[in-house]
Symmetry: none
Subunit: 163 residues, 2 copies
């Protein structure tokens, strides 16, 4: 599955329409249907989105929990109940539902941030703050140490040298 990369800020018009960055669209298109799945993050004032493959991934993760259990229902209420299936129109735009815009404080601009298997949608100013913190954390906390190479992908390593 191809990864979402980059950061793009587009205008939201009076009807709530926004252009999905072309790069993201082409990825979504290769996944089958021409639409995205979008849900408010339960971690902050932004939206989480992705193509059909992202939806399948969520399905698989949540299906590992018993169908009528309490954790399942709590998560389902968030991941399904709060999410929307949004189709992309002929011009590459989506309409962000009112509640979603409210959750992310999005008024007339939205920032799309590539995030690998999915992408995030932020109010530009809020993302700037998050971004600054993330960069600072990545440096000061030596988070780089968490990033171990995967053997299957990068098998060639002469000897013990790792970090």
């Amino acid at each position: 599955m191809e990864s979402f990369r980059g950061r793009f800020t587009n205008k939201v018009d009076a009807k709530g329409r926004v252009s999905v960055p072309a790069k993201f669209r082409t990825i979504v298109n290769t996944q089958g249907l021409n639409g995205i799945i979008c849900s408010p993050s339960f971690k902050g004032a932004y939206l989480e989105a992705g193509g059909p493959a992202y939806g399948t991934m969520l399905d698989q993760m949540i299906n590992r929990l018993g169908m009528f259990t309490e954790p399942h229902d709590d998560l389902a209420a968030v991941l399904y109940g709060e999410s929307h299936d949004i189709s992309i129109d002929g011009d590459g735009r989506i309409v962000l539902p009112e509640e979603m815009r409210a959750h992310a404080n999005i008024a007339d601009e939205a920032t799309f941030v590539g995030f690998g298997a999915r992408f995030l949608i932020w109010e530009p100013g809020a993302y700037e703050i998050f971004r600054t913190k993330a960069l600072a954390n990545a440096q000061s906390k030596s988070l780089g140490d968490l990033l171990q190479p995967v053997n299957a992908v990068m098998p060639v390593r002469p000897s013990g040298g790792d970090a």
Copy 2:
């Protein structure tokens, strides 16, 4: 099987008719018959519903229990005895049986909540309370931690890491 997503509140008219959200209808339609299976929840004041595929799934789950065991009989009494096959009319509406409306305290509005393989029908105010709790649980109990990537989809994990 496509998942039910989103949350929609529709009016119940004097005859007990409610529009099934269009998004849900199209999913149900692709499953064959144009009708839904609906039963009162045994966990709370709301209804559980789904398309033909959901019915098949219930059959399979219940058949895994011994046919003459007590759990089987108890669940069968609810899932079969209390459930109804409700057809969707030409305008995309269903009529909720009186007992069902009573069970969920539904008067003049009903909230349809996408829940993956099935969807729930709630009295709007009651769902708002449930939703608030679910959101709080998802955060405070770190339920997000339950959502580990599934290897089949995101194969990149060095070794044994699974749950």
